[in-house]
Structure formats: structure tokens, C-alpha cells
Amino acid sequence: MKRTAPYLVLAALVLLPLMQYSPVLRLGSDWMHVIIMAIMWTVTGMAWNLLGGYCGQVSFGHAAFFGMGSYCAALMTFHFQASPWWGFLVSIPATAAIAMIMGFLVLRLRGPYFVLATLAIGEVMRITFENLVDLTNGTKGITIVRDWVDKTPYYCIILGLAVGTYLLIKRMIGSKWGYYFVAVREDQDAAESLGIDTTRYKTIALVVSAILTGLAGAFYTVYMGYIDPQVVFSLGDISILIIMVVMVGGVATFWGPAVGAVIMIALSEYIRTIPYLGTAYQTFFGILLIVIIIYLPNGLVGDYRKLAKLFTRKTPGAA
């Protein structure tokens, strides 16, 4: 069961677009949108999890990478009249460079100092992109022409990115690097004394995490067709949402980000339709986060046994 689960999930995801054409249970394009977003957030969640979950370096500034990737795609068109798809390629060195600078500046800091520094860098990026009007068109944002009206090609691309991300991270965590990351998370001094170049491995986790987040950002641009700094460098709607996705699903688990993304995106789409709520929907997420931290500190995936118990408690003999 455990071993076949990934293939079953993948098969279901590959077949999913066909549901758009099925006569019964017809999947509308608004549903396709929700699913595409959920997969995109799965990618960013997995990327964040590599650094925050496995390596223990909690970042409140992943919007820096997401926004950088978004702008790489948008600026290809805006300045060079090139296809925004080149942004995927360009975003890799761009986000890696930001991550390395960030690593140099803040990876020596520990605990709350590191967290605060990442938060600051995310905000610095937003403000910079708002004000470098000649380069970025400022707060007016950038609109690009989308290639397809149909959602299916976007779905296939983001699914491909998600599968690639999953395989890459699984490979990294399964290798000796995975042990080094966990050692850094559990005890940095001990890791260093045992011969692990902790700065180097933290930098590796940060750079890989940044590149994957940037690719998701580039996808966001080509898919949505419009970005501005407030959207793609948003503290609440990007940096913190990524953390929520991982916390709800389960920190340092392979499937946590996927589960968290589905729940968070489904919830936010649903809650936003409640009339007169406005941005108060964020309050709801705050409450959800508190409940998760108290009752399921390891997330839905990490604490699924606890959850299962909750539902089977009335028939103790059954298990």
C-alpha cells in the first residue's frame, strides 16, 4: 500500500483533466483553477519544507524567491519582448543568487534572528520592486498575454514541476545530505563538531529551496498573466501561506505539503465566497493555525494516527 500510493496518486492526477470532458461529474474550469493552485502551493510547500522542515531553518521570507521567479518571467516580456517561458530558465540563476546572498548574510544567525532576517529580506524585495519603476513598472505591475485559454496545458506543466520537485527532494533526503540536514536541525554545534560543514549544507538547502520556489513563481506569471509586487512578494499571501501549507500538512513529511496545499487552497477559495468577510478570512487562518499547533503539532500527515484514533475511539475493539 505504502509503496503503491505515490503511483496511484500520480495516475489519478494524470487522468484528472479528462474529467473536464466527462458527461457526469463534469469538472469546470474554476475547479481546474483550484487544483492548479493547490499543486503550485504543493511545490512551494515542498521547497520550504526542505529548508524549514528538514534543515530546521524557518524562513518567513520565501516570497523573495517566489516574487523573483515571477518577475523573471514577466520581465522577459516587458523588457525583451521574449516569451515569458524563458523566465523559468532565467529564474534559476536569479533566485540562486538571491539565496546565496541571503545565505551569506543570515545563515550565520540562529533561531529568532534568522527568522526575522528572512522576514526582513522578503519585505525589502517587495519594496525594492515597488520602487524600481524603470525596471519593474512599480506598483502598476506587469500584464502578459497568456498562451492558452484552456487550463489543461498549465495543469500538465505544474504537475510536471511538482513531480520533479517531489523526486528531487526525495532523492536529497534519502541521501547522506538528508542526514546532514537533520543533524543541523537537531543540533548545529554537535553537527559541526562531527565534521559537518553546517554553513555549506544550510546554503545548499536554501539555494535548492529558493530555486524551486522561484520556478513556482515563474509559473504563476505565465498562468495568471498579471503580477505586481504586492501580490508576488506578499508577506501574508505568499511567505506565511507557504508556512501554513507545511504546518497544516506536516513539517518534514513527504506528503504534508500536498495535503496542506489542498486544504488551504480549498478553504481559502471557499471562505472568500462568504459575503462581507473581506480580508477577515485571514483571521480564520490564524485560528486554524492555532488549533493545528495545539492539537496536531506534526500536521495532518505527521499526526494522522492521532486523527485516526479520534474517529475510531468509540469502537476501541475495532483497531
Binding site: V182, E186, D187, L194
Partner: protein, 234 residues
């Protein structure tokens, strides 16, 4: 063999070690004793590179250690068995031992060294697949020592290995330390368990407020009046 020369060590702006010097010769067991907060752990951290002395230096067979990156010291032959053990609690016993032998020769001779460690600590062999966090205090200390030995060190530094252990286990730990020396290692040990430490140590230094107060053979210090009143409560 190991030489600490006039080191001043700070936490931020607060100076904790003052012009501290001492040396450990090959094959010796040397103890640092002193009250809580005297600066014993800080001294070990300065030797293993986790803290940098602002002035002075640390040398192993003449080679400067204080200019090296801390993660290189294990390959140069320094093992630090830290205070409170600092194991990777979510990893198994075996994985913790592997983490002690990541580089160079220690890596290639891992299987062989692990066998030796399991001979020294048969309990660890029984529990090799168990998560380190689920071991008893004594077993965790054994694992911390075993992990240190996995790096094939020349010098093993122990920071309060008897802390929190039952008296009978404390005796075992001191026996183990003697055996490690018999295997050809040099030992530097920090302890508050002064009586038993001085009984196994060839030489010892008393650290008081970040300075070396006294030095002598283990026997001589055990008989010393100041040590008796200040550390043995006689």
C-alpha cells in the same frame, strides 16, 4: 601534544576565560575541575572550535587549531563528547554512530570502528536500531562516547560524562575512560565529580573564574587542603 596558550574567550562582550594556558601530553588523562560556571565547558568549546579565542591559540602537535573551521577538527584528531550528550534524538543508535564517522579515514574504517564501539558498549549493539531519544541516560552517555570514538580521534574531550547518572553508572563511565586511554587515546576530561576524576587523572588543573588556579597530579590535588575544602567538602 595538545597545547592551550594564553587564550582569552568571550561570549559577546563578556570575557569568560582569562589568559588560560595548559597542556596535555600524549597518552595522559588530564582533568579540568572547577565550580559550576568556572569556564570548563567554555574551554572545551574553544578547543573544538565552536568558540574562537580572541587572543592566544590552541595547538595540536604544533599545528594551530584555532584558525581552522570547526568542522575540520574531527579529522585533525579532536573528538568532543559534549555536555548533556547532544545526540540526534530522532536518529537510531547506528545512525548516530555513522554521524561520528563522516570523513576521511574514519569513513573508510567505519565498520571496523563500530565493532570496537559495540565491544566496549554491548548495550548499544542490542539497541542499534532504536531511536537515540528513547535510550536511558546511561545508554545515551555511552552513545555520545561511542559517537566520539567513531571519528578515530587522537584526543577525546569529555564534558561532564557522569552528569545525571546513578553512582554505579558513574563508576562504569570512569572505567570506560581508563580503557579508552589504554587504547592509545589521550583524554581531557571536565568534571564536577571531583573525587573520582582526580582518582583516574594523571594530572589536573583547577579552573576558578576563568583562570587556572592550581595544577598538579591527581593524587597531589586530592591531598591538597584548598581542593579538599572547596571541592571535596571535607
Amino acid at each position: 601534544m595538545l597545547e592551550i596558550k594564553n587564550i582569552d574567550v568571550f561570549y559577546g562582550d563578556v570575557q569568560v576565560l582569562w589568559n588560560l594556558s595548559f597542556h596535555v601530553e600524549e597518552g595522559e588523562i588530564v582533568a579540568l575541575i572547577g565550580a559550576n560556571g568556572a569556564g570548563k565547558s567554555t574551554t572545551l568549546r574553544a578547543i573544538s572550535g565552536l568558540l574562537r579565542p580572541r587572543t592566544g591559540g590552541v595547538y595540536l602537535n604544533g599545528q594551530a587549531l584555532h584558525t581552522q573551521e570547526p568542522f575540520r577538527l574531527i579529522e585533525l584528531g579532536i573528538a568532543h563528547v559534549p555536555e548533556a550528550r547532544r545526540l540526534f534524538v530522532e536518529m537510531s543508535v547506528e545512525e548516530n554512530l555513522d554521524m561520528g564517522s563522516l570523513r576521511g579515514e574514519a569513513r573508510t574504517r567505519r565498520e571496523e570502528t563500530r565493532k570496537l564501539v559495540f565491544e566496549l558498549f554491548p548495550r548499544l549493539k542490542e539497541r542499534r536500531r532504536q531511536a537515540a531519544g528513547t535510550l536511558s541516560g546511561g545508554e545515551q552517555q555511552m552513545l555520545a562516547i561511542g559517537r566520539g570514538l567513531m571519528g578515530l580521534p587522537k584526543v577525546v574531550m569529555f564534558d561532564e560524562p557522569s552528569l545525571g547518572l546513578a553512582p554505579i553508572l558513574v563508576r562504569d563511565i570512569f572505567e570506560i575512560i581508563k580503557r579508552i586511554r589504554a587504547e592509545g587515546k589521550t583524554v581531557l576530561i571536565v568534571e564536577q565529580n571531583v573525587r573520582q576524576t582526580l582518582a583516574v587523572a594523571d594530572r589536573a588543573y583547577v579552573i576558578e573564574n576563568g583562570k587556572i588556579g592550581m595544577e598538579g597530579t591527581g593524587k597531589a590535588l586530592l591531598a591538597d587542603d584548598h581542593v579538599k575544602t572547596a571541592y571535596l567538602g571535607v
